[in-house]
Amino acid sequence: MPESIRIERLCKVYQARDGTEVEALRGVSFTVGRREFVSIVGQSGCGKSTLLKILAGLLSKTSGTLSIEDQAVDGPRRDVGIMFQKPLLLEWRRVLDNVLLPVEIYQLNQQEYEAKARRLLSTAGLKDFFRKYPWELSGGMQQRVALCRALVAEPSLLLMDEPFGALDTLTRQKMGFELLRLWEEWKSTVLFVTHDIDEAVMLSDRVLVMSSRPGRILDAYAVDLPRPREIFAKDTPEFIHFTSRIRRRLWQEATDD
């Protein structure tokens, strides 16, 4: 499988506000195949977000190598989309114009991508909301707009930092399946950070388990459940097989020290 992300012995040490050095990542190595859906699970504060921000070109690494599509990462890239836990919509823009923000920043063809944005929003069930302002939408809808915005410029890699973490369980599961539907259609690589093991197994081809700080990759689990996934797969022994193994691994690590 051709690689989308290759990370080798990545370390990150940063200066905390009080001057002490904090080791956020220690010797992280893994690869993600093109169009693969990979989740990283770990406790809060384990460096998952730091890792994502380094990939997004927002933070510099301390040592190690990392490349996206065979190019060393040295800053923001046009072919990387990013999504956070908060929707972070621009409240002065209507839904459609919010989705088109990357198109404007990358100076892409406005007309062509507007059609694309409309298609994306329609697929996400927001057909009647193009002209609404963000505050007129529920939290789940806002997050769907954020997802469309992350996808509109057709990134080859989508970085997601607990994107559904602020939603209630039901909405969160629905969003997960919507993400899968969009992903199957647009087929980018996804690196998905979460602390929800069920969510990680439900969505991913592979789940990486990360230790608490300093973050290391403890284990990787290839989730070979059939696609398209559906909600009742959760009750199957195969699903529980994965979630319980991952839960054990995380628990073991969390109670080690």
Binding site: L88, W92, R94, I105, Y106
Partner: protein
């Protein structure tokens, strides 16, 4: 709000003010308060009827001072805010000076403007400008910087350009803050202009109040104050209208 509820509310407000006017008139007449001490509404209406064109002339003078002072404050205020946010050298020099100067009663400088730029309209404009500047700068800076750090990261993940960040995020984000500053600034600008007229006026509503006072023409002073209230309200209303027009998305609209 439904139409009926709104009409009811408007009616209540109008009724309150009409009742207050009648009470005022009735009290002044029944207690035989002399007109030089406290004129009744009817006295003021008489002066308005007789002197409306004179009043309007003085109102226009004060209006011109206020608007010019406010316009200069708005222009320079925005430039200062953008400069302070983007250039560390300004943040470390201009910003502390502004904060220091802001805590100082700026109106006390008014007499000096007379020495520096004379007794004409310019010293009143300078006064209005000086008091209106600070709320615009302070609110402008807040609007340009008080942004969710994750939103800044989201945009930086797309572009490193500060220009993009400014036009797409900082500037639109600052507009509600800027309008909040303008609402304070426009009222302060009126005060600045009036104080300027108190000190060295030859025309304007502030001058009128002072000279009417000197002749115990209290009805005239009250009338001048009446025009001043109307002018201030109109100016404030204009800022609100501009805000509604420019920020149709803003929170103000959300309550309904």
């Amino acid at each position: 709000m439904t139409e009926a509820l709104r009409t009811g509310r408007v009616l209540r407000i109008v009724a309150f003010y009409v009742a207050a006017l009648f009470l005022w008139e009735g009290l002044v007449r029944s207690l035989h308060v002399p007109v030089w001490l406290f004129p009744a509404p009817s006295h003021i209406i008489d002066v308005i009827a007789e002197k409306n064109s004179v009043m309007l002339f003085h109102t226009l003078v004060t209006l011109e001072e206020t608007l010019l002072g406010f316009a200069f404050a708005l222009g320079l205020g925005i430039v200062c805010a953008v400069g302070i946010v983007h250039f560390p050298i300004l943040r470390d020099t201009l910003y502390p000076s502004l904060i220091m100067f802001n805590s100082f009663p700026k109106i006390a400088i008014a007499p000096l403007f007379v020495i520096w730029i004379g007794v004409g309209i310019e010293s009143k404009i300078a006064n209005a400008f000086l008091v209106a500047l600070f709320p615009i700068v302070i609110n402008g800076i807040m609007g340009l910087t008080d942004i969710d750090p994750e939103l800044l990261e989201l945009v930086r993940a797309m572009s490193k350009s500060r220009w993009v960040l400014f036009w797409k995020i900082r500037l639109p984000h600052s507009l509600p803050f800027l309008f909040a500053g303008c609402k304070i600034a426009i009222s302060l600008a009126v005060i600045g202009a009036i104080v300027g007229e108190f000190i060295s006026g030859r025309a304007g509503l502030g001058y009128l109040v002072l000279s009417a006072n000197a002749y115990f023409n209290t009805a005239m002073a009250f009338t001048a104050l009446f025009y001043l209230v109307l002018m201030s309200l109109a100016l404030y209303g204009m800022v609100i209208l501009a805000e509604k027009f420019m920020l149709p998305w803003h929170r103000r609209e959300r309550s309904e």
